[in-house]
């Protein structure tokens, strides 16, 4: 298996597989984003389904692809970066497609945040949407009431949400599994109700006119023009959200491949046995809540600045459930899978609008079909590899 394979230099075949994988992924996403015809949309979905079925039937193919990416990390990184940086320019000035990408990226951050809990440590936290809201409101209020620069509100909002994350973690420590889920659901509802009822949060009307950030005199509300190429203003937030996703992936990788990630995995597997290995279960659970809240608040800040109008209804229980579905469908404890899950569940309802009233039904059917094809999620957790071995 791949994990046991000796680390050797990348071959040309490895590089070709990496290039084909990344280009193919980008192409399928682009096709799906720009498709208007329902037949094309259905065809892309069927193609993806066939791909997943093939991976499930022939695990060797998946192993080969993973091995190629592990052996040629530099190629994967450089090519991947080039593709995602150039991506807005391939959207033919379609600002709706860019908008969907921004939202998908923000959900990817939220799903990665929840993955620390649900994927790594099996903590069913239904309050990620609330942390997202706390971040958005903290950032927006600072900008509106005190004229604080967006870049400064980012860390402050994250800190505020982290404190709330710890607060939520505290009562949750005495409960487990289903009961823990109930505590987090209650927390999410309390946050939603408070945002709805406080005067200083604008009540049900929310906050309006949140200023767009600017960098070096370039306002994020203006389009980007590079070498005569013009892309809509959404591209600014695309790059901002992209940076956030990169940050989240980096944090996820580093934590996963460390003693902390192992401790989380241990308490996911068997809490009692974890305690007997010297793992402070209470601390590691609190930590998972804090990391989740921290990242979710980042996404919230960017969201508030992006749409410039937030209300309590942006951060309901349903948002938390959606994020949880992304993690489960994408693949627990697999960063790439979680991101795919976020994109799938953000784009599907939008692209299936043709079916108008039936669209959510179709979203459900597609998700169930994908889960039937890949019961462990689209890209399940993979064993760690130890390079030295």
């Amino acid at each position: 298996m791949a994990a046991a394979a000796p680390a050797r230099a990348a071959t040309l075949a490895d590089r070709a597989i990496v290039a084909a994988g990344e280009a193919g992924g980008a192409l399928i996403l682009g096709l799906f984003l720009l498709a208007e015809d329902w037949r094309l949309i259905t065809a892309v979905l069927v193609l993806c389904g066939a791909g997943f079925a093939l991976l499930e039937l022939r695990p060797a193919i998946e192993e080969r692809i993973v091995a190629a990416f592990r052996r040629a990390p530099a190629t994967a990184l450089v090519l991947g970066a080039a593709i995602v940086l150039a991506y807005p320019f391939g959207m033919q000035g379609n600002s709706y497609a860019l908008h969907l990408l921004v939202i998908a990226l923000l959900y990817a951050v939220l799903a990665l945040a929840l993955n620390f809990q649900l994927g790594s440590a099996n903590i069913p936290n239904f309050a990620t949407g609330a942390s997202y809201g706390i971040g958005a409101y903290a950032s927006a209020l600072l900008a509106l009431e005190f004229g604080v620069s967006f870049w400064l509100t980012l860390p402050v909002a994250a800190a505020v949400a982290t404190v709330f994350g710890f607060l939520l973690g505290f009562p949750s420590m005495r409960t487990r599994d289903t009961y823990l889920a109930l505590v987090t659901i209650a927390f999410g509802i309390v946050v939603h109700q408070l945002l709805n009822n406080f005067d200083w949060t604008g009540g049900p009307n929310g906050l309006v006119g949140i200023p767009a950030p600017s960098i070096l005199g370039h306002s994020f509300a203006r389009p980007i023009v590079i070498l005569g190429q013009r892309v809509p203003a959404q591209a600014n937030f695309y790059y901002l959200a992209l940076a956030l996703v990169a940050l989240a992936i980096l944090a996820a990788r580093r934590l996963h491949n460390s003693r902390v990630g192992l401790a989380w995995n241990a308490l996911r597997g068997d809490e009692l046995a974890a305690r007997c290995q010297g793992i402070d279960v209470v601390w590691y659970k609190m930590l998972a809540f804090a990391v989740d809240a921290f990242l979710a608040a980042f996404a919230g800040s960017v969201y508030a600045a992006y749409v410039s109008y937030i209300s309590p209804d942006n951060f309901t229980f349903l948002v938390s459930v959606t994020i949880m579905t992304m993690v489960i469908v994408g693949g627990m404890d697999n960063s790439f899978g979680v991101i795919v899950g976020a994109f799938l569940l953000t784009l599907l309802p939008e692209k299936l609008r043709i079916f108008s009233d039936y669209r959510l039904l179709f979203v459900g059917v597609v998700v169930i079909l994908f889960l039937v094809l890949r019961p462990q999620g689209l890209f399940p957790q993979r064993p760690r590899s130890y390079g030295a071995s």
């Binding site: 934590l255 003693r259 902390v260 995995n265 279960v281 130890y386 030295a388």
Partner: protein, 264 residues
């Protein structure tokens, strides 16, 4: 000349669950490098005793001292960090992780990387994990070369005998002063049990300073162990001594075979 304090000492250890007394006033003393077997019928309170010493339960009364330090009522992870490792009657491995991950998790108390180190000093975190992986491989090689060869498979897919070995390796990984084995032979056939006895004897020879407490039902295994035997029945210690003497005591035979059988 004052005798040095034993490695592990319990005095009057008692555990009540509501009206039920699971463990009553148990005194144990165990020196460095010694082996103690704990036997007794089902439900006698042996596993409860382990849970008290390893900190999963907080005793209703009595004390536990490790090398003279009072560890009574400390949380389990602190007791593990002080050098008491254990296995479980029904093995509790991290089944969805690889064999080597299981052993590295056993080293949790001996490694230091915190969340900030992992995020901002990745080089250091990686180096620590790589060193841990190397030590884990050495340890697996010691316990079972077969297990070493399968280090990248998921622990949940191992056969029963290998699961026991892995639990032993994980317990050893913490560099403990005392290992408590809860019925290591349960669910194994005679051949596997013999192999297990060899493994245990080998680790004992390899780490002479390490102490063991072993709960066991298989009398062949108990007979093969060096050291004292403690017999527990209805939560109380009813006998203590070398196995050859213990097995002849009427009270012990009664506890094991029933009142009638011994008087028939």
């Amino acid at each position: 000349m004052a005798a040095p304090s034993p490695l592990l000492e319990t005095r009057g250890l008692t555990m009540r669950f509501g009206g039920l007394v699971a463990v009553r006033g148990i005194d144990l003393a165990l020196g460095s490098g010694e082996v103690l077997a704990v036997i007794g019928p089902n439900g006698a309170g042996k596993s409860t005793l382990f849970n008290l010493v390893s900190g999963l339960y907080r005793p209703s009364a009595g004390t536990v001292h490790l090398a003279g330090e009072d560890i009574t009522g400390l949380p389990a992870h602190r007791i593990a960090a002080r050098g008491i490792a254990r296995t479980f009657q029904t093995s509790r491995l991290f089944g969805d992780l690889t064999v080597i991950d299981n052993v590295i998790i056993g080293m949790h108390a001996r490694t230091r990387t915190g969340v900030l180190d992992a995020l901002f000093r990745p080089r250091r975190a990686r180096a620590e994990l790589a060193a841990a992986a190397e030590r884990a491989e050495a340890l697996l090689g010691l316990v079972s070369p077969d297990l070493l060869a399968r280090r990248h498979t998921l622990a949940g897919t191992l056969p029963q005998a290998d699961r026991r070995r892995l639990e032993l390796a994980r317990a050893l990984a913490s560099g403990p002063r005392l290992i408590m084995l809860d019925e290591p032979s349960s669910g194994m056939d005679d051949r596997d049990t013999d192999a297990l006895v060899e493994d245990i004897a080998m680790t004992m020879a390899e780490r002479p300073g390490l102490s063991y407490i072993i709960i066991e039902h298989d009398m062949r295994l108990v007979a093969a162990l060096p050291g004292q035997v403690v017999v527990i029945d209805y939560g109380e210690k009813i006998a203590e001594g070398p196995f050859a003497e213990i097995r002849r005591l009427p009270r012990v035979q009664e506890a094991y075979l029933g009142h009638k059988a011994t008087h028939a």
